[in-house]
Symmetry: C2
Subunit: 436 residues, 2 copies
């Protein structure tokens, strides 16, 4: 009887290959396309039932594992899971929670392995930035040490574009596109107002330690007189006098001045131009407000009327104008994560390799997590122009391909359609985790 035989064969396959469950978690600041990566992972995993049984997503990232809050994606409407591709934010909840080092807090790592074991989890996919890649690496170490068979794959994601090895990080291209477009658009606005009114427009963008996002604004400039006129990078020590001279020169020659400033802009002593009162869970200072600071500086010196904008979350959530290139690559790293796991890789991170700038060609490769962990990539010096206030042609060649194409989400009633998930967690099997 063929049907029985098929069933037997399928069971045998499952047994031989020992299909295991997946644990997927989102970590750190989210992006316009981290859910696209989740979608790539989910849709690709479905093609390998002999390897993967259920997919559990961590409710609020790695905390979902620690607290055994595992969202069972088999309970979700497949249409809503497909909608993840065009939904910004982190659909399962992210977190800013850094696991301590192995020697000082072994209990947390042990707990992760206990939860994984209790739920037959054989695959851990951790979608985040540098800190998360470090965690994924440590989890792979301890699971090996404990003899628990676990495939750990880190998946890159940061708007800050600060992960090493990969040509760039999924998430960056879309914020880059948003910032470049916004700079061009707002630049046209102030150009029309400057004769009798506003002469200064300052846009503050993200980028704590590196000026990648601010640099992307430079793409808005086609002709030398186009905005942005000045870009303030964290990589260049801010000198108020030189800056104010540049502003004056620009207003006198162009009639107005558009400035894009990185939130991480700092002076020669290393002090941020504007520091908020908060620190996040990783101990990073929470920034914001350098735009109004610069506006005041200019007003006091030159008396120019100003406007300023702080894009904040708007820039990294702007799925409505995501880069099609970024969307494609965000999906590709999720897909590749599954394929690397199937191919037997462990403790690696998919990376984007650039083959050529023009025509733009790329493919996905992988790098060991041991090499990625806690490294931060800075922007090359040759990307910043000699005067320190703009980008070079080398930067343009690097940045331009990343913002190509528009991947528009579907709309309903004038607003983008987003995934609506039920987020049903599986029944807990372990006692609650008591953090020491």
């Amino acid at each position: 009887m063929p049907q029985q035989f098929t069933l037997f064969h399928s069971l045998l396959d499952r047994d031989v290959m020992s299909a295991k469950n997946i644990f997927y978690a989102q970590s750190g600041g989210v992006t316009a396309v981290i859910n696209t990566t989740a979608c790539g992972l989910i849709e690709t995993a479905a093609q390998y039932p002999q390897y993967f049984d259920k997919i559990y997503a961590g409710n609020n990232g790695i905390l979902g594992a620690l607290h055994e809050e595992l969202i069972d994606l088999s309970q979700e409407d497949p249409q809503q899971l497909a909608a993840l591709k065009h939904t910004p934010g982190g659909a399962f909840g992210s977190c800013r929670y850094k696991l301590k080092c192995l020697t000082n807090n072994r209990a947390e790592y042990q707990r992760l392995v206990d939860v994984f074991a209790a739920h037959n989890i054989g695959y851990f996919f951790y979608n985040g930035g540098g800190d998360s890649q470090d965690t994924a690496h440590k989890v792979s170490q301890i699971s090996a040490e404990l003899g628990y068979p676990l495939t750990c794959i880190g998946i890159p994601k940061t708007v800050d574009n600060d992960l090493p090895f990969t040509d760039h990080c999924p998430g960056f291209g879309s914020v880059a596109k948003y910032v470049a477009i916004s700079t061009r658009e707002a630049g046209l606005d102030i150009a029309s107002m400057c004769k009798t009114s506003t002469k200064i427009f300052i846009l503050e963008v993200m980028g704590r330690h590196a000026g990648w996002i601010a640099a992307a604004a430079g793409l808005a400039q086609e002709n030398p007189s186009d905005p942005p006129h000045l870009i303030i990078f964290p990589e260049v020590d801010f000198d108020a006098n030189i800056f104010l001279q540049q502003v004056q020169h620009t207003v006198e020659t162009q009639g107005y001045c558009v400035i894009v400033v990185s939130e991480g802009a700092r002076d020669a002593s290393g002090k941020f131009l504007s520091e908020g009162a908060n620190r996040d869970a990783f101990g990073h200072v929470q920034l914001g407000g350098v735009a109004p600071y610069l506006a005041q500086l200019i007003q006091q010196k030159h008396g120019y009327k100003y406007h300023w904008a702080v894009a904040d979350y708007l820039q990294r959530a702007a799925r409505h104008i995501a880069s099609a290139t970024d969307v494609e690559q965000a999906y590709a790293v999720g897909k590749a994560a599954i394929e690397f796991a199937v191919a037997g890789y462990n403790a690696v991170m998919p990376i984007v390799i650039r083959e050529s700038d023009h025509p733009y060609r790329w493919h996905i490769d992988q790098v060991p997590l041991a090499e990625v962990a806690n490294q931060e990539r800075v922007m090359p010096k040759e990307f910043i122009s000699a005067n320190g206030f703009h980008i070079t042609d080398a930067a343009r060649r690097y940045l331009a391909p990343l913002i190509q194409g528009e991947d528009y989400p579907p709309y309903h009633q004038g607003l983008p359609v987003v995934a609506r998930l039920k987020k049903i967690c599986v029944a807990k099997k372990l006692p609650a985790f008591e953090k020491k």
Copy 2:
């Protein structure tokens, strides 16, 4: 000979109808679609050569007339003029310059008429807000008084949506759409971060005296638990204690709180929550910074981690996600302005009349400038919910049609294509204008 006859007939037509030149000027704060209106006017005028000869656009608005800086649109590449339809900002330059009252500053009005006469201008189209409609009205009065034949048509434009008679102002629908989309997107971002990090997100939007733009953010809310959770309107006296209670309640029930605040938010004494140091040429206080003010207030009371964004020019320049309805109507008022002039109307403003909410139907009508001038439309009380922090169903019915449809601009190299104008002015015929 048919050809000769046609030529003769055409000359006769021109002579009989005495084709005159057009003066078109943009005024006040620009929008994502004021150039769409210009495009509608230019393309429609071309259909009536027997009425209209050349089109001159004021270089920097009405100042272009006072200083005899008349941009000759016949010198522009027709492709670039067509690109105005999808170019934000004011392509010919706008200005914040209010003509004084007729009795105190007759010289300025006289100068306008002198320049119009010197350049055979028979039609004055003034594209702006309330102050501009007032000016258009006064110009029509003085030209009549002086016996100079001039057709004056005001064309509505404000993101603030504060002009009377028209159902809404072209320009408002696009900023409304941008703000609603941004609120939904950023809301998804903070929802994913709130477990361990940011619990408060505040988006500051424009709206000096009326909460129309802030109200539009309310459209992002589909379910009662969706962002935005609280909207701060200028129409509702801000009470810090009630506000802080609402914030706490929202965080305790939803895990986070998204607040949209109008720049014009004020307390019971009428004082703006945050006032900038500047005043513009109309004497209006320049606002900005109420978002960080509220963030501090919340932090001091509750200690919640916050993020805030100030959209500023980004919101009114966001042509990349313009409302298709707004684009269509912005074009329609430019077209109608020409058609009203052809039909012999004078001193009127085209307005949008709503025929029904659902299905949304509208048409263009007109209203005398005498009735428009210096009136400001406020948001109806019944648009604000009983607790003062959200919009009602009535507001939704009004707002929803205005954000329908996406009118995407063309892109090149990942960035929106915008009009590039030469802005060549005609030779001056008069001595320079000395302002008294």
